[in-house]
């Protein structure tokens, strides 16, 4: 699948991420940190229980928890617009 990430300073990075059944956008973001760019910043804690609510971002134009959205085909991720931006997708919320 293809993940487009809005980075710092409005730059957009695109990554090809190998898919597996059940992979979420958060899984894809974590894969990118492990294999390509560990400097990529985003918030997350519980990873799949949807309990901590830290991973919220704008996914394909909608506010969603990245750990609940399936990573298939092409997905765009951007930080929440109305919160102080810390870095990349991480905001102070």
């Amino acid at each position: 699948m293809k993940l487009q990430i809005q980075r710092q300073d409005g730059r957009t990075d695109t990554y090809e991420v190998p898919e597996y059944e059940g992979m979420t956008v958060l899984d894809a973001l974590m894969w990118i940190r492990e294999h390509h760019d560990p400097s990529l910043a985003f918030r997350f804690a519980c990873r799949c229980a949807n309990a901590c609510k830290e991973c919220i971002a704008v996914v394909d134009g909608k506010r969603q928890y990245t750990c609940t959205v399936a990573a298939v085909d092409e997905v765009e991720v951007a930080p929440l617009p109305n919160q102080p931006l810390l870095h990349d997708l991480a905001v102070d919320h």
């Binding site: 059940g22 560990p38 229980a49 830290e54 870095h87």
Partner: protein
Amino acid sequence: MNRRDVTTDVLVIGAGAAGMYAAAEARRQGARVILLDKSMVGRGGATIMAQMTVAAAVGHAEDDSWQLHYADTLESGRGLNNEQLSALMCQDGPPRILESWERGVNWAQNGDKLDQVKAPGHSRKRCCYVGALQTGTGVVRGLKKELRRQEVESHDTTVVTDLIQDDQGAVVGAAALEVKEGVQVAFWAPSVILACGGLTELYARNSASVNMTGDAYALALGVQADLVDMEMVQFFPIANLAPRTIGLDPIMWDPFRYRLGGKLLNGEGEEFIERYAGVADEGTYTATRDVVTYGILKEVEEGRGSPAGGAWLDFTDLTREEIRDAFPAAYDRLLEQGIDVSERAVEVAPTAHYTIGGVRVDIDMRTNVPGLFAAGEAVGGQHGANRLSGNALTEAFVFGARAGEAAGGYAVKTVGGTPEPDATASAAMDEALATIAGVRGRNHDSDVFLPALRSRLKDIMWRNVGPFRDQDRLEVAREQIAEVREEFETRARVDQREAFNLEWQEWFELRGMLDVADLVRTAALARTDSRGAHQRDDFPQEDERLLANTVTRRTPEGSLDVRWEDVVTLDADPASWTPPPIDTDPRERTPR
């Protein structure tokens, strides 16, 4: 260097249920309190993820007593419980549940009483819960109200890297990195409480959050605090394996089984738990967690696993309506993902779930190091060799409250404010903050990534120091952990930026995880029998001679020293036992 100094009476590290409870109680002692979390307050740890129940003999659903709860807890612990801590947990659980109810935790009710249900290993209906799978969220919401009422100052996204000791060896502060802006913070406090939760993130398969990197144990090692039974890690038997679910708790099959029964089958479609538990499972779900974990992994090892390497969990004898009536939200969510559990079985497998061992404390939650307290999952001893379901949040409330009271009293009455740090402490703080500053940008053009190194370590732990252990695997782990450490020390990449630099934090997390991996491995090697959560293939029986606790401490030279200590007994009839009043005036400030 971008440095800030902050002074308080009580510093609480970790804002789960234990830390939040501790902070509120320390405030009640008149202490100034700072509550820190490397993630977001109340959100980053295991507490918010707990979906099931909290055990306390409130006696609202049927006749119960804390002594019965205590007897169940000891039975599950297989002779290794610190009986004083177990008794404290069971005795003080009911008043804490009622108090938290008053303070704003919206426990499920039955009329004007609490609704209490039965959970595995408990002989009575004593497990409280919030809503439909809302226990953790309900607890956090309620405890946060209390923090606001007590005006507790909290700092999020702040990771503690080192504890600071004075000339006498007392802990007098902590060095931290505020990750949002990349500030090095010197926290000074005569009382410090470790409430950092467990170490499940050391394992490739785990049910808790990414933050459970075992920091409490690494910090304790750093100041020569004692750790008890670190070989005891609880593996939860039936975490979701396949098909992968999205947005659901990996261990939600537990309440499903508890309410609905269902069948646990091996790859050949046979019920197999009887072989290990000695009693048939028959949907009554009475076998304890360690037995089920062991059973599933043994079946897999002997070639009788499910396709993805676990066991089948089968509810297909039930109708769609029966399942939906019990779990409407979860059933519909599964259905949206194409999983109809009335039609198909799912695959489940063990996962690292909870840390049974931990920082060794006395009944006032004091460690052997003056000024240092601990609470919650970070503490060891109270569950012996196996934790009963529902006892973890009870422990977080009770031990959190006790630690807060003891630490508040110690800071206000014994020490009397925040003395100026002596030369030893100042120098140690300067050094710790300089290390933090020095890590930013370290090997920034290296291609050895911290998230990848961390995954490697987690695989090593899962394969060799996981639910099954033997001497060979533990020796392999020694070498492999050392290899990861070597790469970590020489080549791990850290980004250069200051703001929200995850690698900067992860460098300290992995430093601690490597130490804690060695710690668990060393204790697991020392315990040459199988008991509860600790299963040695080369020593499959319980050995009566090892009815004692492993206590590990880092020597001043840096090696790990394991000694055996007698189990702490109650030395009283539980019928008339009450916890001793908190000793807020322990005069000796020298290390014990």
